[in-house]
């Protein structure tokens, strides 16, 4: 789109994509040698990277405050899981990647539709009101799922086929990073940053804030839905309690820790925060206490994030 305008950052984004896909291919070649425990954690990291980077588009680049990312993840996860549960017994095993891809995309699409539903109220709301509406939206999705017999209601959805591999996870994570940074760094994407910096000034420059906000919500929700699908086919079990308020907070903390609007920082934060509970395993009873203290201390000491040193004014690094 605009590679001539900003060649350095576009190559930056492409570098991420190539590195990510290469990593995915290489790692999945050796995945048979990995211990199952480490393999599981690696997949968790990949899924959290997708979630954090997609939320970063909404909370970081566009400056909206969403507390409902787990809701989008739930929509995508349940949709994808239901599709592969229904379709996979009918088709030969050779078609498995096709089914998986279809399930993921369908989950993402439905989550994007939900994102549209949340994006529209955001036309009128900002700041903490928007935070509460997105929180409420996440809760509504949880309540609806909890009462839907066809997806197992409160007892959860069991027996989802294990399709998620390292290759899928990191390939899609790289794609998410590439897509989000390329989008934000394009001529069109400068509008996200403009809306985040000053909505009134942006609209007086002819930028339609409403369109950017809704685009951010729809795109962010799509990738959260994909992450949900990966999660479903990784854990092979979904329960409504796994998508509560706390899960949304987890993703928000990743974005804050990494620095709002800093894609590289957010990726590092997603990795650290996925590993942290595993490292703290022997102190598991204090884990959540430490975690909540971390949020408070972080907000007091470094509200701009741990990995931000030289934010260029108006720049969205790849």
């Amino acid at each position: 789109m605009s590679s001539s305008l900003n060649p350095s950052s576009i190559t930056g984004a492409k570098r991420w994509l190539i590195a990510g896909v290469l990593l995915a291919v290489v790692v999945s070649m050796f995945s048979a040698q990995f211990n199952r425990y480490y393999l599981g954690i690696l997949v968790d990291i990949g899924i959290n990277i997708i979630l954090a980077v997609s939320l970063n588009l909404i909370n970081g680049h566009t400056g909206q405050f969403s507390l409902g990312h787990a809701g989008f993840m739930a929509v995508g996860g349940y949709t994808a899981a239901k599709i592969s549960l229904v379709i996979s017994p009918m088709l030969p095993p050779a078609l498995q990647p096709v089914i998986f891809l279809f399930a993921l995309v369908a989950g993402g699409a439905l989550a994007a539709l939900a994102g549209l539903g949340v994006g529209v109220p955001s036309l009128r709301l900002r700041g903490d009101y928007l935070a509460i509406v997105t929180l409420g939206f996440g809760e509504i999705i949880r309540v609806v799922v909890q009462n839907m017999e066809s997806v197992g209601a409160a007892s959860g959805l069991k027996g989802i086929p294990k399709y998620t591999t390292l290759g899928w996870t990191f390939g899609l994570a790289a794609l998410t990073i590439y897509f989000v940074s390329a989008l934000v760094n394009s001529t069109y994407g400068r509008g996200f940053i403009a809306v985040s910096d000053d909505e009134v000034a942006a609209s007086s420059m002819g930028i339609n804030p409403v369109r950017y906000k809704v685009t951010a919500f729809v795109t962010g929700a799509f990738f959260a839905g994909i992450a949900g699908g990966l999660y479903a086919h990784h854990k092979q079990f979904l329960s409504p309690t796994g998508f509560d308020f706390l899960k949304s907070i987890d993703i928000v903390v990743m974005v804050i820790l990494g620095g709002m609007g800093r894609t590289a920082g957010v990726v590092v934060a997603a990795i650290i925060l996925t590993l942290l509970p595993e490292v703290l395993r022997q102190f598991s009873e204090y884990r959540m206490i430490i975690y909540s203290l971390l949020i408070i201390v972080l907000m007091m000491a470094r509200p701009q994030g741990l990995f931000t040193w030289n934010r260029k004014k108006g720049g969205a690094p790849a």
Binding site: D128, I132, V143, E285, I296
Partner: protein, 303 residues
């Protein structure tokens, strides 16, 4: 008809509790313009304070009795007032000049910290504890209607608290200062109002109401646990927004409306499973069509 009246009574009792909690949210929002997520946890701490105080108090004033209940309530109100002021002093005061979202996330952090600390074995433990009977219970039968004495206590206490709060805010020097800070913090400071003291006072007052609401809620609930504040807290927050956040009569009205709506929805079979979702659906609709709330004033953003 009987069914309607019965639901009305239950709804009023539930709505009164929501109203009490909502007042705390709305007062803090009025002076500091942020949502104090930890408010719901102060409510829980109020109930636990009463739980631990009740055996000690009953050695002097045997429970259940009115005097005993009043003393237990008074003591836990004092404890919660202190906790509320302490939370503001430690967590929110250092962030006074920061963007509101920073404070909002800190508030979520404080709320999670209190919840997880209290769930630890060495503190309260995660299990549900039976709440002691503070007041003698009696059911009044009026025709086909059953009015529990606890429901009456809840409604009467709320009315008394509303009147007291109205008096404090409208008729005392402290209340006038509170309204001034809420109207314009800088101008209030220039008039010689000690902003920090007013904000501490507001947090104390809100936490005192939360403690009372916590005890009233515990009287009606099957038991208390460290997460007991989360659901009523969310509902009360919605009630505050429904009435127009920052507006005291609005919070009371919103609480009552939400309590009634929820009770009626819960009484209709098929809808009852969606009770948790209904409150949020109402919130989203209100924010879409009347973002300032029922009694709130619409503000125009100036450039």
């Amino acid at each position: 008809m009987d069914w309607l009246l019965q639901q009305l009574i239950n709804g009023l009792a539930l709505g009164s509790i929501y109203a009490l909690i909502a007042l705390g949210y709305t007062m803090v929002y009025g002076v500091l313009r942020f949502i104090n997520f930890a408010h719901a946890d102060v409510l829980m701490l109020g109930a636990y304070a009463a739980y631990f105080l009740a055996p000690a108090v009953s050695t002097v004033f045997p429970l259940p009795s009115l005097t005993g209940a009043l003393i237990v309530t008074l003591l836990s109100v004092m404890i919660c007032t202190g906790i509320g002021i302490l939370i503001e002093f430690l967590a929110y005061r250092p962030l006074r000049q920061r963007p509101r979202l920073t404070v909002l996330i800190t508030a979520i952090g404080v709320s999670l910290f209190i919840e997880f600390t209290c769930q630890h074995e060495a503190v309260f433990g995660a299990d549900t504890k039976p709440f002691p009977q503070l007041l003698p219970v009696h059911d009044f039968n009026l025709g086909g209607l059953v009015i529990g004495s606890n429901d009456l206590v809840v409604v009467v206490t709320t009315l008394v608290m509303l009147a007291a709060l109205w008096f404090i805010v409208q008729r005392t020097k402290m209340g006038t200062a509170m309204r001034a800070v809420s109207f314009n913090q800088q101008a209030a400071a220039l008039m010689g109002i000690n902003i920090n003291r007013i904000i501490s006072f507001t947090f104390g007052l809100g936490s005192a109401l939360a403690a009372i609401a916590g005890i009233l809620y515990a009287l009606k609930a099957p038991g208390i646990d460290p997460l007991m504040g989360v659901q009523p807290g969310l509902r009360a927050f919605i009630a505050a927004v429904l009435g127009g956040i920052g507006n005291l009569p609005g919070a009371a009205l919103g609480g009552l409306l939400l309590g009634l709506l929820e009770t009626f929805a819960g009484g209709i079979s098929g809808l009852s499973n969606y009770r948790d979702g209904i409150a949020f659906a109402i919130l989203i609709l209100i924010l879409l069509f009347k973002p300032a709330g029922l009694l709130g004033k619409a503000t125009v953003e100036k450039v």
